[in-house]
């Protein structure tokens, strides 16, 4: 009994000793070993049907973060959140993709039909839009980017591509190679010489393996989009 009491008092003593810092409360009951853990304090939020959708398991989070560094290091590093559903729509539109398309396997149809997989909010269930991408969300994003690449490449080839964020900027030049500015527009950040080289090399690799140049360009566009927008 004395040991139990001393354990409680020493651990609580350290918690109290630091209690003046405003964010001490952020630790709260999130530490599985805290006296305020589920073993000591009922955690109603884990009851069924109480809106625990989308809640990360604290133990899994701690285990993953421990592989990178301390909590401070983790907090100072950019992570990778899911692009919001509306932002995804904006990106597609700005790349000239028809988000209202009803054609089978079109990027627009996949986007419209993929709202749930893409983690949109369910406010009725008190669930906000997903912040961290799920495997389903990333898979859906890949599908959409692949479909979008076909549309973007076709428009670029036809000279009708209208990337609204980059008016007048060609994605592909007259020789069939990508332009640096065009790639910048696809990614939303300045393309480097390496980006350009990799994209044009994808065309060469595709044609050397029996695919058409159009298909090579599509592969390159899809790869660039996925790399830029899906944490790949």
């Amino acid at each position: 009994m004395k040991i139990k009491a001393l354990t409680i008092l020493t651990v609580l003593g350290f918690a109290a000793g630091c209690s003046s810092a405003p964010n001490d409360v952020l630790v709260g009951d999130m530490d599985p070993n805290s006296l305020a853990s589920d073993q000591n304090t009922q955690h109603h939020m884990q009851d069924p049907n109480t809106g625990e959708n989308g809640i990360s398991d604290p133990n899994s989070v701690h285990a993953e973060q421990a592989q990178v560094g301390s909590a401070e290091v983790i907090a100072r590093l950019h992570s990778c959140s899911k692009i919001t559903y509306s932002s995804m729509g904006n990106i597609l539109k700005n790349h000239g993709v028809n988000t209202g398309s009803t054609a089978q396997n079109s990027a627009g149809l996949l986007y419209k039909g993929g709202a749930s997989a893409l983690g949109v909010a369910n406010y009725g269930g008190r669930v906000p839009e997903m912040i961290i991408p799920s495997t389903a969300a990333l898979s859906k994003e890949f599908d959409i980017m692949v479909a979008a690449s076909i549309e973007i490449q076709a428009a670029a080839k036809a000279g009708t591509l209208n990337m609204t964020a980059c008016p007048g900027t060609p994605l592909i030049d007259t020789t069939g190679n990508f332009t640096k500015d065009g790639l910048s527009c696809l990614m939303g950040k300045p393309a480097t010489a390496d980006h350009l080289s990799i994209a044009n090399d994808a065309i060469l690799q595709a044609t050397s393996q029996g695919l058409t140049k159009d298909q090579g360009q599509q592969i390159a566009i899809a790869s660039i989009l996925e790399a830029a927008h899906t944490c790949e």
């Binding site: 409360v25 009951d29 406010y123 906000p128 964020a165 980059c166 300045p190």
Partner: protein, 416 residues
């Protein structure tokens, strides 16, 4: 022999406790329970640079540049190897602030810290920032009109997020979200706010009395409404208060600073909040029960009635009475020792809590850095990372736009 062994255990426990205490408090006054004592301190975490240095594109972030740590103490390669990349920073900032990628012209305009900062200012003034903020507040409140039912007396579920957006966009103090006494149910049409007061009756105190929120979080004994306040504005789950002198009790430890008998209990109570047979209910409920009755009069549609509308989860599900939460002599309170008479007073007490400023800084930091939510995803941020931001926020009128600019131009943000 048995006594010696027990003494060894006691000495070990005392030494362990002391070591833990010293480790936890090892960073001066910062109390970085998560980040302290492990060598991963801030100085060289930023490559030894000052996050407020204009050369780094940063905004002045306080006396110590946001660090206050030994610059030689850090050797984490994930931190040390980062490089300033304004192009990458602009992309993620644009997505977060206006929900879209930067234009080619924007990208080409950014060449250094100054031009990057100017672009952030442009985004903060962009009409699309309003739309993005609205969505951010909907997700933060877990309440919004999209997908929700209408009619049958249901309120708008968008007024709270709209009001919070208006506070941010119009550069009003963040605490107005908790304390404003009028025009807390505005509408937003084509980027223009139209002020309006809520029509659900009762007191008005920012979003605390918003009909959409009250309806969304309607539940037994108004506890879900209290949980919403705690997790949204303090960024931690219950329990919210801890005693420096916990007591061994029942099957665990009573950790709350409140007198144990300050909440309803006993065998005749509908709900025995003093029960200790399985877990210590009072650890959370001493805090919750002193607030929840204030929200008891809002019905399931968020309308304020003259009598208590929430139910007690006991036989027959009767409507709650004040005695179901508190003994007659107990007053309402935000925290132990901070009595409040009504919801507006509660709003002021919450707004004055330092944890509330820390919370919004943490949540915005996580948003900018593409991290999960501080509550839902346990994405806590040690105070050493945000201390200077909190200081700047609280000493400059609690303007969220200023906070966002500081975050999106911070050294950590522009490095990849």
């Amino acid at each position: 022999m048995k006594g010696e062994e027990q003494m060894r255990h006691l000495r070990w426990l005392a030494a362990t406790g002391l070591t833990v205490a010293l480790t936890a408090c090892g960073n001066g006054g910062s109390g970085t329970l998560l980040g302290g004592g492990n060598g991963d301190t801030t100085g060289s975490a930023n490559g030894g640079s000052d996050p407020g240095s204009p050369a780094q594109g940063g905004t002045p972030q306080g006396d110590d540049g946001g660090n206050g740590a030994d610059p030689n103490a850090n050797s984490n390669p994930n931190i040390d190897q980062r490089q300033v990349n304004y192009g990458e920073a602009l992309r993620t900032a644009a997505l977060k602030l206006v929900g879209d990628l930067p234009t080619l012209a924007d990208m080409k305009a950014v060449t250094d810290a100054t031009s990057y900062g100017a672009q952030i200012d442009k985004y903060l003034a962009d009409p699309r920032f309003v739309t993005r903020q609205l969505q951010w507040w909907r997700d933060t409140f877990k309440t919004g009109q999209p997908g929700m039912k209408t009619g049958n007396g249901l309120p708008s579920f968008d007024t709270a997020a709209t009001f919070a957006t208006e506070v941010v966009v119009n550069d009003r103090p963040y605490t107005d979200i908790l304390t404003a006494s009028t025009n807390t149910c505005p509408t937003l049409t084509a980027g223009t706010f139209t002020d309006a007061s809520c029509t659900n009756g009762g007191p008005t105190s920012g979003v605390l009395t918003d009909p959409g929120l009250q309806s969304q979080y309607y539940a037994n004994m108004a506890f879900r409404r209290v949980r919403f306040i705690q997790e949204t504005f303090v960024c931690s789950k219950m329990p919210a208060e801890f005693s420096p002198t916990p007591q061994v009790m029942g099957s665990g430890a009573y950790t709350s600073p409140w007198p144990f008998a300050s909440i309803t209990g006993g065998t005749t109570a509908k709900i025995n909040f003093q029960d200790t047979s399985a877990v210590i209910c009072a650890n959370c409920h001493t805090t919750m029960n002193h607030m929840a009755p204030l929200f008891g009069n809002f019905d399931m549609n968020g309308q304020y009635q003259t009598t208590i509308q929430v139910l007690v989860p006991s036989t027959g599900n009767p409507k709650a009475t004040r005695a179901d939460w508190l003994p007659a002599a107990e007053n309402y309170a935000w925290r132990n020792g901070q009595q409040v008479a009504d919801i507006p007073a509660l709003g002021k007490a919450i707004a004055a809590d330092p944890a509330v400023a820390q919370c919004i800084v943490t949540r915005e930091w996580n948003y900018a850095m593409s991290r999960g939510d501080v509550v839902n995803d346990t994405a806590t941020v040690p105070s050493i990372v945000t201390d200077s931001l909190v200081k700047d926020f609280t000493s400059n009128g609690m303007k969220v736009k200023r906070l966002l600019r500081n975050i999106f131009t911070a050294d950590d943000f522009v490095k990849f």
